[in-house]
Symmetry: C2
Subunit: 190 residues, 2 copies
């Protein structure tokens, strides 16, 4: 399929995802700005999230099981609820930065996008794949926390200290979301 056909199909899929509530409002407006340009289309995104996962070690894709996630700041009570209802031995807490996957028509349009996003705080962005008919970019910030809550059945962060962790997590999450706004402004100025 040609670029235009793939792009049309991706935008249709996005429309369906929006209608079924799968796309976070915090990032939808930015996806719309990127998708308004004929040389780009977005394939997936996350506006940044706080999550709790069952896994022995972080980064074990395919093994780890996410048991709670939020795209907004949380309260300690949310975490306590998850901890109390989970009997697993190993639980990790994470903040993930905003991420957008963008397809670009060619290397030139990819370089242009890459420069904008890297200049606006998305320092973990890069071209991940190049084929003759498209260039895939991951737009990602580096705002991250990856901390154990329970290891081998032992609480690593005592309950009366969870408030400090949650406060830091909320701040890191919101810092990531602010980067989305800055990126949107930079796009608008183009």
């Amino acid at each position: 399929m040609k670029w235009e056909g793939r792009r049309r199909r991706a935008l249709l899929k996005l429309k369906e995802d929006i209608e079924s509530g799968k796309v976070d409002n915090d990032i939808l407006w930015l996806l719309n700005i990127i998708n308004s340009r004929k040389e780009y289309y977005t394939t997936s995104s996350c506006s940044g999230r706080i999550q709790v996962a069952v896994t022995e070690l972080p980064g074990e894709k395919g093994v780890m099981r996410v048991i709670a996630k939020w795209h907004h700041p949380i309260k300690v009570s949310y975490l306590l609820l998850v901890l109390d209802s989970c009997t697993e031995e190993n639980i990790w807490f994470a903040v993930h930065p905003p991420i957008i996957h963008v397809m670009c028509r060619d290397v030139d349009s990819a370089i242009k996008l890459l420069k904008i996003v890297r200049d606006n705080g998305f320092k973990h962005s890069g071209i991940q794949g190049v084929t003759p008919d498209r260039v895939a970019i991951e737009v990602a910030a580096s705002d991250k926390i990856e901390a154990p809550l329970r290891l081998r059945g032992n609480e690593i962060v005592p309950r009366d200290r969870l408030g400090f962790l949650v406060e830091a997590a909320n701040r890191v999450l919101l810092r990531g979301k602010r980067r989305l706004e800055l990126l949107g402004e930079a796009f608008s100025k183009l």
Copy 2:
């Protein structure tokens, strides 16, 4: 300066860094493999590390101050020594994955390198910049921990639980270092 000149200069700088002990032995052999190819040269690298930093939130480049780092597995006693000698209010503990910055002669050679590294566990790799005379790639794995040890003056991980954190950190560090070996094997097969 032309590609050959820049490459020669970078390899000379690497040689000096090796002689002054600035390059980690865990990664030097792999740098040598990459640098043996005329279409690539490495500009910086880290074989993965465990570090302790003074910062309110992680990811505050230019603000955070690293107070201890190790390129090998650590013991709890190392952490206690750092914690006892540091009176700062906010301390974060991290494991960083192996990272290599590679310059490639052109987009084609960059795509080739990118495919090898991404197929061999370095999932956070990407092309970060493209100019007419070189393409910059960051080769990075995603093995990461970023956890608070002290926030607003409060211990977040009690001392009798640090052993669990250190065990997880050592395992994540060594998992990253094993990826370097797999990558080296893949290169050798080329």
